[in-house]
Symmetry: D2
């Protein structure tokens, strides 16, 4: 039996007819849609359960009663603490996540936002609509700059950074990176120079914030960082709002010193009164970096491919195995 419980995604967002058929060819499937799968549904499935697709609660007492369980395929993007991961590893259950699937969509939007910031695309459009555009010879476009040859910094060099780096390579930028979890030699192996956080902000004309939030880095990117940025620099925030000092970021944008392109917010859905809605110097995007329709359908194909592999005793090739050492430490829900 396979339990599919993809909340907060819907079945239709993820599964094409083809992907559904691939799962049903492996085992009977219990398709669940909606916010919470209750015990009355989960408990009877446990004895025959071979895989869970989703973030269904799986404490040790449930795992004990699921002797045939072979795989937990998270389709949320983050590993929530409602699963006893240690017990899964001890039992040899594959714990797979979809992290890598967001690399490309987030990297593409991040680069798009960086170029929009560097070239002031939104203001350029607004001025023509308002009839206030200024000729280049009279000072128009004065704040624009090229990426080519500039210094660019990445805060975080995980799957998002690894997806962004190839898109940046043809620009010939000097690449700096800061990632407290990666040794310097690993950063150098990616073609970037490891530097401290404040040095990264002070030297980079564009800074990409790509680090996942942890219990340790909440608000770690603060006023000191933003004040170190050269005037006219661009910051692109696409991981989670919790890693920055939010008021300090909005202050820096509002002051006109930097431009901030922001895809994630401290509270989501964004409250009506969120200050960012009216902060100048920003480009705003409502958590759309990874949320592209074709990406979620790709998740369905990945789930089918890797569940086929695991049940056949082969190595999964599309999803990412959770790391025992860190799966429990990541959390990436916006802080309410």
């Amino acid at each position: 039996m396979i339990l599919v419980d993809p909340y907060p995604r819907t079945l239709d967002q993820i599964f094409s007819a083809g992907a559904r058929a691939r799962l049903e060819a492996l085992a009977p499937v219990a398709w669940h849609e909606g916010p919470s799968v209750g015990p009355e549904l989960v408990e009877p499935l446990l004895p025959e359960l071979v895989a869970v697709v989703g973030q269904t609660a799986l404490p040790a007492e449930r795992l004990e009663r699921a002797p045939r369980l072979r795989a937990v395929l998270n389709v949320e993007g983050n590993f929530l603490p409602n699963v006893d991961y240690a017990d899964c590893f001890a039992r040899g259950i594959a714990v797979l996540g979809i992290g890598p699937v967001f690399g490309q969509p987030v990297a593409e939007l991040a680069l798009g936002l960086a170029l929009a910031g560097a070239r002031d695309i939104l203001r350029g459009d607004a001025e023509i609509r308002a009839g206030t555009e200024v000729l280049f010879d009279e000072g128009g476009n004065g704040g624009s700059f090229l990426l080519a040859g500039k210094t660019v910094g990445l805060v975080g060099c995980g799957s998002l950074g690894r997806a962004l780096l190839p898109l940046l390579h043809p620009f010939g930028c000097e690449l700096l990176a800061h990632d407290p979890w990666l040794p310097g030699e690993s950063i150098r192996a990616l073609g970037a120079t490891p530097v401290g956080l404040v040095e990264l902000f002070s030297r980079s004309r564009v800074v990409f914030v790509l680090s996942p939030p942890t219990t340790e880095n909440t608000g770690a990117i603060g006023r000191t960082c933003f004040e170190a940025m050269a005037p006219g620099s661009v910051l692109v925030l696409v991981s989670r709002a919790a890693v920055v000092d939010w008021p300090a970021l909005l202050d820096a944008a509002a002051s006109g010193r930097i431009r901030a392109a922001i895809d994630v917010f401290p509270e989501e859905p964004i409250p009506a009164g969120e200050r960012a809605r009216t902060t100048p110097g920003t480009i705003l995007s409502a958590h759309r970096a990874g949320n592209v329709p074709e990406v979620w359908r790709e998740v369905g194909e990945m789930v089918a491919t890797d569940l086929e592999a695991v049940l056949a005793g082969r190595e999964p090739t599309r999803m990412q195995a959770a790391d025992p050492a860190t799966v429990a430490r990541l959390r990436s829900r916006p802080i309410g």
Copy 2:
């Protein structure tokens, strides 16, 4: 004697103190600023003139009286018909243009506009400011798509296309190109597949219009092309407006079928009543693709480097030698 007459650029836009000093080390320099250098200024310089930096009128009768002229360094971006190019070639005078310098800035903006179109960045920003953003799960971001793996078409494979292609490579797109001046084997050598104009529009999710206007292609990209595009496709126009059927382009954008990112206009400065100002489905930019401050300063360095080379009997390495066969056929002024 070197005549510097960079109109419509100003001296300050192009020349740093360092670049000025480099020119002055080569020969006495007549620095001219403003719309038109009159005969009273040009004629006395002819006997000693070794180089002209700018688009000063040089008909055959003037060239005859400039026996020591070695180089004409165009800094306007287009070769205007006020120079007798055939006579320059016959006399062994180097005719150099700055075409290549615009490759990178235009390519960067073109990619930025393509990503802004593919991800609907401007609408996403506007909706948050208006408080009308829609959650992904409720249909928000439904029209967004990735560049990765899509088919992308380039109309024109000259210096703009050659600068854009490397930026597209890491996206792994299928690349189509149409350039009536380039044989298919040259297009294939660039890594793209040569196709007809309508096939390019019908197969590409993103179309970049990069072809310079000529006496032959005015309005060549018309209604048939736009109607061939798949719904939700993106067109990026960054060369000159004259190559497209302007009303047909705006109709296509207004209909909601495609999104059109437009950097060039039939008349510039853009008239107050230009219809594009209010056309939905567009992203507008006031001829800012190449007009980035650092680009024009780079022109000054190129001019100094290559004039040093020519006067020393070496090959110029930064600017582009004009091609005798085609220099007279290009024109790229917007049609008034």
Copy 3:
């Protein structure tokens, strides 16, 4: 306590003074050199053992007596069956291998051998030394070809293939790949086209054999494959000899139809009477692809970095976590 038992490597091959000091900063280290660490040495260490660097036998009964064991760091390149991997996974012990470290050296030699084959470098050198070189205009170099634009096939798309692909990209080849363990969509995601084994051999001008041997693919690349190759094609074998039908490969090279560049042999050290030693049409290399001095010193740095990470509760970033599903199925010792 850390047990370092790197046989068949020596301590000096792997560990610089710096790497030794890094290990000793983590825990007391038992450094062992030589073919086999006896029970008299291992058993007393078990109660305090936190890590094993090497391929020391670790059956379940030993693991039971090593309650503090956190990591097994294989430095041999293959996971041998003398460890109870299932028990390690159940106990939450990190099982790490050095597979990725060989990607670059093997890819560089594989490309070097392919170019040596395509350009007949060895014959070219031998002819000059023998005074028998032939002018190009009289037929010399007639069998040489360019990689650029050719079709190239990879048998195996694991870590070796992933290291080789970037080196091939600038040649603009059409890339085919065959890997029975990888679904077609994963191969496409690497930029190659998945094809069947015989189709790969029949269409490729250069074939790289990069697949690790398994219990299932012994000799799988046989006469049918070699006979499908176009005359003048090049085969590069750098994984293990066991995956090919050895006599059939040598027959194909000896016939003059193909050139075969071979780094691995059925028996190693290579017996004096090995037929390959005198087979024409071959380029021979004595298992030198991965065995480059600087690579083994890099292993020492990787071990230190990742052991530091695991003992600090962080994710290892340099070595590769063994996959529970397949670790027991790989074997790559040449068949004696």
Copy 4:
């Protein structure tokens, strides 16, 4: 009338049936094969001559009598001094060369030779055939090194260097370049660091000599350069022997300090007694870098394509326009 006189190439080396037909569709063609086209053949053609394909002597007095001549298409690789180039430029005759066609084949062989040197591929093969190969654990392969991450130097950054650089990029090397004709900013624009000649040799683990010979650089790369190289470094010489101090190069290789891969010789065909034939520490290749069969057939297609373009008043896109400033200064015949 088109005169085709491709000596030292033969008609068959260059022209497929298709390429011949393309030329004949443009004008009547006089096909000549063999060492020297005499005046009795050339003189009568002059009045109707529209193009010369080859290195036929064209002094001013002949050009005068060829009023319809539009193009001189050199297919030899070098511009010899038997043409009055200044007169061609003055007359508006296109002077085109095939320089760019050799970029890829030379770059591929140069990389192959570099890898053969870095990995000692030839010695490795010879030892197995002699039965004297040494196990890695007993010191075998001790002199091998990786390109990845090393410093690599290019002497000359013209068309050969520009073809080689993309092949080197995925190795992640630090790239140095020396080219007295290129300003430092142009070298930096290619992604390399400009340095002096001796610094380049002293810092690079692999040095590629790619500079064409001129009247000024004969033997410029001498003993001081070779002595500056670190022991175990590799030199790859693929442009012309005249640019190096030949005895000093062979001394350096013979001493065991460096390995030298050599494709060009002071005298060609190589004399029987040439010392290099017996010099240890070398890899020898008989001017095969550019002389690959498919390359010369490609030349035929380039000639047809660009002659079609020139006669139709379009810009040539495959061959390279000769530079007026330098065409007369290059010479690249081996010094007899």
